[in-house]
């Protein structure tokens, strides 16, 4: 006969108000197999836990059911208490009579009856519980950081400085991300390059950071502490070991008119190029789509040009380089892939999002986006820091900034606030005024969201000292009218329609998730929201973790973030990883699947449905080494315990520990009391 202890918690008045806890305890005392049943005001308090521990010893309990709040709240607490009293922690279960009972029902009679039944179900389950041990798994103390923007750079440096090995993967030819494109940063107006470049160099030189640029994550396998990642090193056509970054190849390249991605199309680059002078690494990359040689090979099969190869004295140019896959073992992964900017074009990459026909779908010259303005304002940009119109190179005397383009616009498919635009627009208005004396900046805004340290003061400065005229309203329509852009807006504060003849318009376009981020998220088994921003494990308490253990988030991959936020998240993620790396082994819940070798028929239905690839093939041989059969075997390190294999197994030869068929059937059987 089992000896089970039942502990009914009042939770102050939370449970006791609607559940007659005394009656529950009495009813359970009568239940077969229950050796002890009691109630107490706060079971999770110290005296409450002591009560449980003492009862385990005094009544020689071989199972415990605590009827209280949700197991999500206190299962760990009571299992720890049971363990300290010498009972295997997995012989302790909770019945949820608060969230699922006392809080959602008013009728005392009904609630009490339900509480009795819920507790009985768990008692019946516990009868079939088996002692289990937590799983211990070794930890590979190397981290993968995906994305080399400011978040990835910060995470990589913090990790490496903390003693961990780091593999930093960046898909572009250089690290630096969006921050390297910015002119100056709010709210201090310090030069973005000046604060970023030293950190980029630090990454490059750090002995514990392996930097892989022009590379992408191909595949991820494994689990926390033990991931195996494959990285595609895209063919750069330049041998990174031989290249010394002299730039002779670039000077020799005859294809000079390719719109530069780094300059947002406002500047040009060659086919073999470094994206910007401070790029790290300073190794050029050959853009095969625009290279004369590769075009000629594709068209006629003949070689052509090859001037860069001739120009390179180190023989570093290799036209026959192929993509290659490198494999790394890592214990944790930080995802810091950042964002892309929304474009107002008619064609959109995602269904459900549309462009702005009322603003000409991006076809009106001199209507640019915020990042383009950054390039114009940047001293190292295409205009050497002068604000000039792209169409005719004239200095705009009237400039209009439109905020919330794509943001907070349900009709265009994006309802969220992009968070950074209020600030950078204020910055733009300021920079404009500093650079174009006597110029007038207008800002169409809806609400000014400046809730960071020194942020509101910064916006006030743009208005009070730099004379930006803020108009509260959205613009209905804009179009080119001869030399000017007619901007039709409404100032809701003076209640007047406003038409501005602008020389230039800057759109503060929304921050969007990176293209194809879903594919990466799926490789990592991390969920994402409807806008494809990756989901944190808990919005308040676990902001940089994900629901996949060992995978962490930093920066705008999770939601629109500014630089300080991204850096803080990156340091937080690094701290989490270092915490993980501080032990040699990890403990995990033992709720995993296990195959009964004697009845498995080797049909491998389980292998087909397992989302983790945890099912392996195991050969059963007789003593002479003759193969008897091949059966399924679950890798305890990889299995996450979803139980899909169990429900699928035709021969019922696989069980999920902690949720075995007998345990579930016991609960079902208890339904009728």
């Amino acid at each position: 006969m089992p000896r089970i202890g039942v502990f009914i918690c009042h939770c102050g008045e939370n449970i006791a108000r609607t559940v007659d806890v005394k009656r529950v305890a009495e009813a359970l005392a009568e239940h077969p197999g229950v050796a002890y049943s009691t109630d107490y005001k706060y079971m999770c308090s110290d005296p409450g836990q002591t009560l449980v521990k003492q009862a385990i010893v005094e009544h020689k309990l071989d199972g415990v059911v605590v009827a209280a709040c949700s197991p999500r709240m206190h299962e760990k607490t009571f299992r720890r208490a049971a363990s300290s009293a010498g009972l295997n922690p997995y012989l302790c279960e909770m019945a949820n009579i608060r969230e699922h009972c006392s809080w959602i029902h008013e009728d005392r009679e009904e609630a009490t009856q339900k509480a009795i039944e819920l507790t009985r179900m768990m008692v019946e389950k516990v009868k079939y519980n088996a002692p289990m041990q937590a799983i211990r798994i070794p930890v590979e103390k190397r981290a993968l950081v995906i994305g080399g923007g400011i978040a990835g750079i910060q995470a990589a440096l913090d990790l490496a400085d903390g003693g961990a090995e780091v593999v930093l993967v960046e898909k572009e030819p250089s690290i630096g991300g969006h921050m390297s494109q910015l002119s100056e940063t709010f709210p201090t107006l310090d030069c973005s390059q000046c604060i970023l470049t030293p950190r980029m160099v630090e990454v490059y030189q750090h002995p514990r950071i392996k930097l892989l640029t022009f590379s992408e994550v191909e595949n991820v396998e494994g689990y926390i502490g033990n991931f195996t990642v494959q990285i595609r090193r895209k063919a750069r056509s330049v041998d990174e070991d031989l290249c010394n970054g002299c730039g002779d190849c670039i000077a020799s390249c005859p294809v000079k008119k390719i719109p530069s991605e780094f300059e947002c199309g406002l500047g040009k680059r060659t086919a073999i190029y470094v994206p910007f002078p401070q790029a790290v690494p300073n190794t050029p990359t050959l853009d095969r789509e625009n290279c004369t040689l590769f075009k000629s090979r594709a068209k006629t099969g003949k070689d052509a040009c090859m001037r860069c190869q001739k120009a390179c004295q180190r023989g570093a140019i290799n036209y026959n380089q192929q993509d290659r896959i490198e494999e790394f073992k890592v214990g944790a992964i930080v995802v810091a892939t950042g964002f892309q900017l929304y474009k107002i074009t008619k064609e959109q990459p995602r269904p459900g999002i549309s462009g702005y026909g009322e603003y000409g779908y991006g076809t009106v010259p001199d209507v640019i986006d915020g990042l383009q303005f950054e390039r114009l304002a940047s001293a190292s940009g295409p205009t050497a820091g002068k604000i000039l119109r792209p169409s005719d190179g004239k200095e705009p005397k009237k400039i209009v900034f439109l905020q919330c383009i794509g943001s907070r616009d349900c009709a265009k498919g994006i309802e969220y606030c992009s968070k950074i635009c209020c600030m950078y627009t204020a910055k733009h208005a300021m920079l404009y005024r500093h650079k174009v004396h006597g110029g007038q900046a207008y800002v169409f805004y809806m609400d000014i969201r400046a809730n960071g340290k020194g942020y509101d003061e910064f916006v006030r400065r743009a208005i009070e000292e730099d004379g930006a005229k803020y108009l509260r309203g959205r613009v209905s329509k804009l179009y080119r009218d001869g030399e000017v852009i007619k901007v039709h807006g409404f100032d809701t504060l003076s209640s007047e329609p406003v038409v501005i003849d602008a020389d230039m318009v800057v759109l503060a376009t929304a921050m969007r998730a990176q293209p194809n981020i879903e594919a990466l998220a799926q490789k990592l088994s991390v969920s994402y929201d409807k806008h494809a921003f990756l989901n944190e494990a808990h919005p308040k308490l676990r902001p940089v973790e994900t629901n996949t253990a060992g995978v962490f988030l930093a920066g705008a991959v999770q939601a629109p973030r500014d630089i300080p936020d991204s850096v803080a998240m990156a340091s937080a993620a690094a701290a989490k990883v270092l915490d993980l790396f501080s032990a040699d082994e990890l403990e995990r819940e033992p709720t995993i699947a296990k195959v009964d070798a004697t009845i498995c028929t080797g049909c491998f239905h389980c292998e087909r449905v397992c989302p983790y690839g945890a099912v392996e093939h195991k050969e059963i041989r007789d003593r002479k080494g003759n193969l008897i059969k091949v059966i399924a075997d679950v890798n305890p390190g990889v299995c996450q315990g979803c139980g899909t294999c169990v429900a699928t197994c035709p021969s019922k030869s696989v069980e999920l520990q902690g949720f075995t068929d007998s345990q579930v059937f016991a609960e079902i059987n208890a339904l009728m009391g």
Binding site: A411, F490, T492, S495
Partner: protein, 196 residues
């Protein structure tokens, strides 16, 4: 934190107060005025914004503030051209055009006389024409309108111009199903009264 007493009162109000204007409008239009965040994009594109005292976003604001009388007694809702520019560009799908249609209907039902005489007379004259013949008889419309509207403008003088160009039929044509049309009118007018 609200005291229990305040909560009690608050709850009581919710239960017994008549439906707020915004809820009424939401029920009648299927658009939710509460979604309006007062960006003014509707008013920025409204061709009549220079002529009206209340612009589309003002109207949404007053609906959300439950200012029934102010809306019903203002002629702005009658100056809407129903060009739908506001609805097409509203970031929150508040559909101001449809909302204003509904307000006009409510205003008529409430017996408000805020509609500019010329406009209400035109609508009335127009509908009278259809009611009597099933189709619009333009000469009849102009005559009916100019008399009831009282604005005997130069327009009537251009009617001969229209006539000379063969653009005006002088005899109304009545359709076979005119009874059918009149029944539709009667049913819709009855429904409007009932709603009130």
């Amino acid at each position: 934190m609200a005291s229990p007493e305040q909560q009690e009162t608050g709850h009581g109000l919710d239960q017994h107060a008549p439906a707020e204007l915004k809820d009424e409008v939401a029920a009648l239009t299927g658009a939710n005025p509460a979604r309006c965040y007062q960006c003014g994009k509707c008013s920025a594109g409204c061709p009549m914004a220079v002529e009206t005292s209340l612009r589309p976003h003002d109207i949404l604001r007053l609906i959300n503030m439950d200012q029934r009388e102010k809306l019903m007694e203002n002629d702005s809702i009658w100056l809407c051209l129903t060009c739908e520019t506001c609805a097409a560009r509203c970031p929150n799908s508040c559909d101001p055009a449809r909302v204003i249609d509904t307000l006009r209907e409510m205003s008529l039902a409430s017996g408000s006389t805020a509609a500019p005489k010329a406009i209400s007379a035109f609508h009335q004259a127009f509908l009278n024409q259809i009611k009597s013949g099933g189709r619009l008889f333009e000469v009849g419309l102009i005559a009916n309108y100019k008399f009831t509207g009282g604005a005997l403008l130069a327009d009537v003088m251009t009617a001969p111009g229209m006539f000379m160009r063969g653009k005006l039929a002088l005899k109304p044509r009545r359709i076979k199903g005119v009874k059918d049309v009149r029944r539709i009118f009667a049913a819709c007018e009855a429904a409007a009264k009932e709603q009130q």
